[in-house]
């Protein structure tokens, strides 16, 4: 279990780094899918098999496919000129230093906690479902409303708006600003 955790953690970190630094959106998305799959393996080793399945199905299967569809619809390749000009290794320098400073603070803060060492307790889907539909029933309904709002918002924003032109203006040449 231990070695599986460390190997998958290394895979997740390396593939996330590659996803962030890649210039091609499709390659970056595929690296991100690899990262999500390895995180799913970590969930499995942590004793959360239901969450591991959800991670694969929803994150890697639905959300990332949505991203890939949008990238394919937009048909964007390596054409972001300004970013190509900017994306040099020294651009990563200052944010990385700041993030490393945050990480050092995080490690220092984490040193004060003393967690008792015991193997991860397996919490199966049954307990999660019982908790979800008794204690957190209101939150489930609220998230259903949130998803409904997401659907309506995505439909409204993604719709191609028809341009309304008055019928007297159709034949006239359009004035270019």
């Amino acid at each position: 279990m231990n070695t599986i955790f460390y190997i998958t953690a290394a895979v997740a970190i390396i593939s996330s780094l590659l996803a962030i630094t890649n210039k091609n959106p499709i390659h970056a998305l595929l690296y991100l899918i690899l990262s999500l799959l390895s995180i799913s393996v970590i969930f499995y080793t942590l004793g959360a098999p239901f969450i591991a399945a959800l991670e694969v199905i929803v994150y890697a299967g639905a959300i990332m496919v949505l991203f890939i569809f949008v990238v394919m619809m937009l048909n964007v390749g390596l054409q972001e000129e300004q970013e190509n000009k900017w994306l040099t290794p020294q651009m990563f320098l200052i944010p990385s230093i700041l993030a490393a400073a945050l990480l050092v603070l995080f490690v220092i803060a984490l040193k004060d906690f003393h967690f008792e060492k015991h193997p991860a307790i397996v919490v199966g889907p049954k307990e999660v479902g019982i908790s979800l539909f008794t204690t957190y029933l209101i939150a489930v309904e609220l998230s259903a409303i949130l998803l409904l709002a997401g659907i309506v918002g995505a439909y409204h924003l993604g719709k191609q708006k028809k341009k309304v032109i008055h019928r007297f203006l159709v034949k006239q040449p359009r004035i270019k600003k």
């Binding site: 970056a28 991203f67 937009l74 300004q82 967690f115 060492k117 991860a120 999660v128 439909y155 993604g158």
Partner: protein, 108 residues
């Protein structure tokens, strides 16, 4: 035999910081949304780790809620990206600076 809790939380923190660096560095808006996804995912991972450590189902329940929020966020965000691409023909987040001061716009 078991992985210490500190190492697990450190791993989640490293993933979060990778997402943060990506959000700060990249200007392509698809990559910015991907970095936000990475950060949300690593934050949700800490909930699952805590739930596994103390044997509660609440951590996994919180993960499901964060999953819902991120799915809704991604669908609306990608629709906004489509609209942005139709208006500006670019995915550069810096191209949308119409709200900025007019004088500042001229200098750029």
């Amino acid at each position: 035999m078991t992985v210490p809790m500190e190492t697990q939380i450190l791993f989640a923190g490293v993933l979060f910081l990778i997402g943060l660096v990506g959000l700060l560095v990249r200007r392509n808006i698809i990559f910015m949304l991907m970095s936000i996804e990475l950060m949300l995912n690593s934050a949700a991972m800490v909930f699952v780790m805590g739930g596994a450590h103390w044997g509660h189902a609440d951590g996994q329940v919180m993960f499901i809620f964060i999953l819902t929020v991120s799915a809704a966020e991604v669908s609306v965000g990608l629709a906004l990206i489509l609209q942005m691409y139709h208006h500006y023909r670019t995915l550069d987040a810096d191209s949308m600076r119409k709200l900025k001061d007019h004088k500042a716009n001229e200098n750029l």
